[in-house]
Symmetry: C2
Subunit: 331 residues, 2 copies
């Protein structure tokens, strides 16, 4: 394992400590509950939005805390759901009179932690709603999932409800918006390599020198099939066909197009995928209204990418265009 | 080689095409000269700033074209200087009555291309100045360099002169600012793995399973020495000591601290390096005034990182804090 790591057990705390030190004006790290929150704490004039999941998907979600996106993130250890009591404590810390919205990618462990935390917080008199994200078209059930998995498309749900909450939307309104965005968001990924969890110290699964995993999950879960490595264009087509045919997206649609890097793939390659996807969408009469190329939801150091489409309407496009100030990228 | 690539010869054009398609309102791609420019062309009220270098360092420099940073980027093929006539054509296209500033990382091939292009443009009556960046403390001369190499610290020069040019600074003033920033900027990198140029199809150099290259160049050039892989904290100390002792940075200094990923290292690991570097600087009485963690200047898919410090004064800090709107990261 060739990584910048000290004690693998300290991988997540070391990262969170660095993240907070780099953003002293905007973020606070609470080691006791492994959480990252906005420095100012809950804002009584807006719904607090919290997302949690296993770590190893950075910038999701700890680096997307900030104005216009999350109010707090509650990460677990690498690829592990956060402990239920940490989610509960985060919810209490971020309680707002307008309520708390919990965003959860659809994995069984995460659902369990967040649903129990919601019950506990509600019995304390906090108004809480939970919204599950399941944008991955690759497989119906998977290693750790009943139903579809939540992957990089969670960005669009976070961004939309984050923008609406800054504008004062109610908790019910945020649930409506979040569910709407999730319902028109579809993703599919391809892994070129495995990833190496620090505590394991070796690759999570084996892929041959000329093999790819089509429809890979963000924890290295199996996808639809193993295939031979082929050209960037052909791999783009594979992801695009799966995504377009699922909703389906049709001629006349206006979409957001995201090419998300899985951690080990350079941004140069992501733009190669983007260019072909844009051409193919245009050929199908689908207009790309907004573009996202970079790392949004990763799998540690996995080489690979995912492609996400969101069907836009005026409401969604307006929320996606709203400003956000987050730590993920500083220029 | 496991990459998203079509014909390796088309790696750079395919990427640039995607970049321009993803940013139709702000960027224009001119295939004939392999250049990326602001969609609006040269602005007669500001000096035009152009940076060029080999490709493979993305987001540098093609993804840092935009308001507050570059007016155009003139990339070569992967790890190859741009052709002199392309630099000349870019300079002509971007000619402004206020002049043109060429930013060049200090490599012999790049210097040659830019210096000849400057002469040709000057004989056309265009006012041009060239500024060389050489922030890498690792080695004095190297494979393709006389003197020190220009690496990730070039970001700070781009950002400072970009901000000043938006505010209307003259060409001479930009040269003064750029030289000043370069003179207080120091960088050192460590490679955990090699990188694989698409046209070569195999790793550029060999590193043993437990070996690192201390002081690696951004084209895989040798650094100071091979060493054994050790902890994140120890590798941070190695980079920090080299950088701090070089200028030197001393107690009472206020600095910008950048941890730059070399392409294959996830951002989670970069924050681990950041946290320890911040602690160590604090211990030495050096204040971190601005923080940058992410990918700024990469080496394709190399796993590794570099650490940059910039000694801040009010002028530099103000320029670094100015807004910029670039394609590199969209949130």
């Amino acid at each position: 394992m060739k990584k910048f790591v000290n004690d693998p057990k300290m991988y997540v705390p070391d990262m969170l400590k660095g993240l907070a030190l780099a953003n002293p004006d905007t973020l606070r790290y609470v080691p006791k509950y492994n959480l990252i929150m906005r420095a100012g704490g809950p804002n009584p004039n807006k719904v607090s939005i919290i997302q949690g999941s296993g770590s190893g998907h950075e910038p999701a979600h700890v680096m997307t805390v900030g104005k216009g996106m999350l109010d707090a993130a509650c990460p677990g250890d690498v690829f592990a759901a956060p402990p239920m009591d940490y989610v509960y404590e985060t919810t209490k810390l971020m309680a707002s009179p307008k309520g708390v919205l919990l965003l959860v990618n659809n994995y069984t462990g995460d659902r369990m932690a967040f649903e129990m935390a919601q019950e506990m917080a509600e019995s304390d008199g906090i108004t809480v709603k939970t919204l599950f994200i399941d944008d991955d078209v690759a497989v119906q059930d998977s290693t750790w999932t009943v139903g579809r998995r939540g992957v990089a498309g969670n960005f669009f749900v976070m961004k939309a409800v984050g923008a609406a909450s800054e504008a004062g939307a109610s908790l019910d309104e945020l649930v409506r918006i979040g569910e709407k965005v999730d319902s028109v968001t579809r993703t599919m990924g391809i892994a070129l390599t495995s990833c190496t969890p620090p505590a394991k110290g070796s690759p999570l699964f084996d892929l041959g020198e000329d093999e790819i995993e089509v429809g890979v999950g963000i924890h290295g879960e199996p996808g639809r099939r193993r295939a031979k490595l082929t050209t960037a264009d052909e791999m783009t087509d594979e992801m695009l066909d799966a995504v377009v045919n699922d909703l389906p997206f049709v001629e006349g649609d206006r979409v957001a197009l995201m090419i998300n890097g899985l951690g080990g793939t350079p941004i140069s390659e992501l733009y190669i995928l983007y260019g072909h996807a844009h051409d193919e969408l245009t050929r199908r009469g689908i207009t790309v209204g907004r573009s996202y190329v970079g790392e949004y939801c990763t799998s540690l150091d996995m080489a690979g990418a995912s492609l996400t489409l969101v069907r836009l309407d005026d409401e969604i496009e307006g929320l996606l265009a709203a400003p956000a100030e987050i730590a993920a990228h500083v220029f």
